[in-house]
């Protein structure tokens, strides 16, 4: 059993509760830093991919997990970040400038797009944002002179502090670039969550009326959340483009939007951890499936038949299972396991049971 004694307000304000937790995260960071020397190039690439998805996941998590606004359109912002980064570099800007600018521009555009979308709630917002994701395909084709249209574009190698980095030539350096972005984004995200802005996101998510009564401008808060969300997603998109090497109008399809949303639901809505857990699932699912297909093939005979849409189908089934049995996602499951050990032997089975919630109709009367 582990008990955290609190003797200072800073214990709740700083990002870690106690030294034990700090050591744990530093250890994780060390492992991540050591990874290129431990695992082979293939798995390093996979890990890199997972980290990029985690960045995109954090982007959507700000909006959906913390502000409660569903979006099925975030692939549009991945695309935007990706193309903005490349186009700015083609205009002669160095990567170190083009990359953050791609994030900022995507964020600002997201905020502007948010203003009409903010009148919509729940499923309507999801549908409107989904339309955006479908539109972006056409926009890329229509703006061919800049985007290369259907023919697409190739990602150049980028210069980071004088080191030329590209996905195939220097996978280790590319990995460190991604890791650096992950660390910076995560720290910024943590900072916002422990400050008034992050709390106003949560307030808007849980009750718009009382957020308003407390002095939070709901529309403004949603727009800011949209902006931050799109900025992070844009950074993720820029890295995704560089990682893919080549991309065109079909790279960031609406399927990617859906996958991104599923990913954070499976990972656990409303926590930064959730974005990472979800990214691990989405990153390693294809490997897992091909391994299990081989296994099924070897046990039951028959060759490796290709089943179209298998990956997506399995993903959907995992999602449904989570919504039914573990609405708090993988992170929620992890919390339960951790609490079990921390409280051992005092864990009660219904510790995380949700109280009956009251109907929210007629809530103002």
């Amino acid at each position: 059993m582990r008990i955290v004694f609190k003797t200072d307000y800073m214990q709740d304000i700083r990002p870690w509760k106690d030294r034990y937790q700090l050591v744990l995260y530093l250890l994780l960071l060390t492992l991540m830093l050591a990874a290129p020397f431990v695992i082979d190039a293939f798995y390093l690439g996979e890990l890199n991919n997972v980290l990029i998805w985690a960045i995109a996941g954090m982007g959507l998590m700000v909006l959906t997990g913390h502000t409660g606004q569903a979006s099925l359109g975030h692939a549009a912002f991945l695309a935007m970040g990706c193309y903005t980064n490349i186009i700015l570099m083609e205009q002669g800007l160095p990567f170190m400038l083009a990359f953050p600018l791609a994030g900022i521009i995507t964020g600002l555009v997201g905020m502007v797009i948010a203003i009409p979308a903010l009148r919509l709630h729940g499923i309507y917002l999801a549908i409107a944002t989904m339309a955006m994701s479908i539109l972006v395909d056409d926009i890329i084709v229509l703006t061919e002179p800049w985007t290369g249209g259907v023919g697409g574009k190739y990602a150049p190698s980028v210069n980071v502090f004088g080191i030329m980095i590209d996905r195939w030539g220097t996978p280790r350096e590319f990995y460190y670039l991604t890791l650096g972005v992950v660390v910076v984004v995560t720290l910024g995200y943590i900072n916002i969550l422990r400050a008034p802005l992050g709390r106003s996101f949560i307030a808007v998510r849980d009750s718009e009326v009382s957020a308003q009564a407390i002095g939070i401008d709901v529309a403004r808060t949603k727009a800011i959340s949209f902006g931050i969300s799109c900025a992070i997603t844009g950074l993720g998109g820029a890295l995704m483009g560089l990682f893919a090497g080549a991309f065109n109008n079909e790279t960031f399809s609406v399927i990617i939007s859906i996958e991104l949303l599923m990913m954070i639901v499976i990972g656990g809505l409303g926590s930064i951890h959730g974005a990472f857990f979800g990214a691990i699932v989405i990153g390693f699912l294809p490997q897992f499936l091909s391994l299990s297909k081989e296994w099924v093939g070897s046990v039951f005979g028959g060759s490796n038949v290709a089943i179209p849409g298998l990956e997506f189908g399995v993903f959907g089934m995992i999602l449904i299972a989570f919504i039914l049995f573990e609405p708090m996602g993988l992170y929620g499951r992890w919390l339960k396991v951790r609490t079990f050990f921390e409280l051992f032997p005092f864990y009660r089975k219904d510790m995380f049971k949700r109280q009956k919630s009251y109907l929210k109709t007629e809530r103002l009367r």
Binding site: I192, R199, D206, V209, A213, I214
Partner: protein, 254 residues
Amino acid sequence: MSFLELKDVTLKFGGVTAVDNLSFSVEEGEVFAIVGPNGAGKSTVFNLISRFYDPHNGSIKFDGHDLLKSKPSGVAAFGVARTFQNIELFDQATVLENLLVGRHRHRQSNFLTELFFTPSVKKQEVQNRHMVEEIIDFLDLQAYREKRIAGLPYGVRKVVEVARALATDPKLLLLDEPASGLSVEETTDMRWWIDDIRRQMGITVLMVEHDMGLVSGVSDRVLAMADGAKLALGTPVEVQSDPAVIEAYLGHVA
């Protein structure tokens, strides 16, 4: 001029006149109660003050400000805080986080300083925490500080909502049925707290309440409403003995 002043306020929902040409004013430092049968329009009066609805007619002024010129999110800045009849807390957050949200109107930081969590933000957070802890002590919420709202009993949630309203450091506190659903002991606690909120903190209280024991115990003046209009206004004793009130409201009880 009065502290809070409603003049000839009318609000209709389709065919229903929820508030009908209502005028009353609340003086600084008093506890003012609104009573009346269900559907009388009491909560609607609160929602009008909170600017959730635009009245068809009339004016609402608070502390020299014309509230009708303000956005719903601007009312808190004048020092008005409220609770809701059906409890509107941030369910997935802890009690502490709920109260810290209450500090929002005192925010000095902006997006950039918060992104880097500068020393000034840190200082502000420590101060917010300090203010919130005083309210936690005042309302005896220490045991629930780290608990999520979603798992808390009803009675505790009622108190947390009052605490969150107090965290905004208001001049006027609107309480919509603070004792409904509470046990006898919890109601007694609430009574003393309302007394202390007025006496120790110097906050003016406007409340809607059905429990006549609580109403006569703490309030200086009472407004009785029926069908959106004023029936009677006076001390608790005067209102309770008013024939129109006995007929419309207490008549059902007796």
